[in-house]
Symmetry: C2
Subunit: 217 residues, 2 copies
């Protein structure tokens, strides 16, 4: 059954791979599942046809026959559960890999999202500069803990899993801030993710959409 995902017609990052469709493209490449992409404009994302697929008016969405999903966590988990390659076979190891998916999205990403908001969406606000160090320190606090747990391992819990895919994707959002480089073990972890051939294909595919276009916003 053909899988169709949605992505930005023009990504706000101009093709740096930070839009969330890259996470889904990466998972699809890891499990070797072909897919089609429907590009949507910012205008179309607010229209009823898109809201029917994604109640929060975002990308990506995932269509597979009658099944419609949104939320990168749910889409990556769906793919990981139905195809080999992203979750271990052992039930306990599988539960731990799922734990890292949730940790990436609910514990590590929120302060990183706040940092992006502070640096971009709130950059013209009077408090922006004064508040920035506090937000950066919240991110660092999480990275200290994450780096300690990762230690010298290649991946968070044994073999590469959907948990690593999600954690690397979340950490990549930090790159523009420079904070990732303060944590050499995490920077190397992210680099290991980027070095995977599936990631490279996903990155190239999103870049091909955006490279020829002037940056939005």
């Amino acid at each position: 059954m053909t899988v169709i995902i949605t992505a930005f017609e023009r990504s706000p990052d101009g093709g740096k791979g930070l839009a969330r469709d890259t996470r889904v493209r990466w998972a699809l490449e890891e499990v070797g599942q072909p897919y089609d992409v429907r590009l949507v404009s910012f205008g179309a994302m607010r229209k009823p046809a898109h809201i029917a697929l994604h109640p929060f008016g975002q990308i990506p969405t995932y269509e597979e026959g009658d099944l419609v999903l949104f939320e990168t966590g749910a889409i990556v988990f769906h793919l990981a559960q139905r195809h080999p390659g992203l979750l271990p076979d052992d039930a306990n190891a599988r539960a731990r890999a799922v734990t890292w998916m949730f940790a990436a999205l609910n514990t590590v990403e929120p302060p990183i999202l706040d940092l992006s908001n502070t640096r971009i969406a709130e950059s013209d606000k009077p408090w922006s500069k004064e508040r920035l160090p506090l937000v950066e320190d919240r991110v660092r606090h999480r990275l200290v803990q994450l780096s300690a747990r990762l230690g010298d391992a290649d991946w968070l819990d044994g073999a590469f899993s959907a948990g690593d895919l999600m954690m690397v994707s979340v950490l990549l959002r930090l790159r523009p801030s420079g904070i990732l480089d303060e944590f050499p073990k995490l920077a190397a972890y992210v680099a290991r993710g980027e070095a995977r051939s599936a990631y490279k294909r996903a990155f190239a595919a999103q870049l091909a959409v955006n490279a020829a276009k002037p940056q939005a916003g």
Copy 2:
């Protein structure tokens, strides 16, 4: 096998049910699984023994024989997958219920967390009052979308699921702000969650820990 979860020795909310162990207690009650609770102090949460269970030094954790999990999303999902009562049997409906779990934790909770931070952790900062309306509007933006999708339904996608358990739990964090009452359909949705006997047992159990103690912090 005996399940052991951790919870605050003294919850910062003094027993209002907003600490995250309530979510796990609720799921355990929904599936009829008995459990033991180990209470941890703020000091103990920073010690190696607890960090070995939870790399980010938080509660709750979940121990079941050799299996150790953290992240409420992962724990609730683990319970939902192994016991009937929290996920539908149909594969597509199951994937959609999981989508609502991720939506609760990665799309709806982050702005609510930011609101809590603004109202409490940053209340003494010079920007706090000026920034509050912007943060509140981010929360409202999500609630408008969520309320539109819920419409007049009782639950987000058919029967009550782990997705509703997580969404109701996240929305409950809004109660101190008064914003939930601006959205009557969502307020009624949360009330339906609270009216479930499993939720009532979970709430009573966490209250019993905290009621007799002076509030922390």
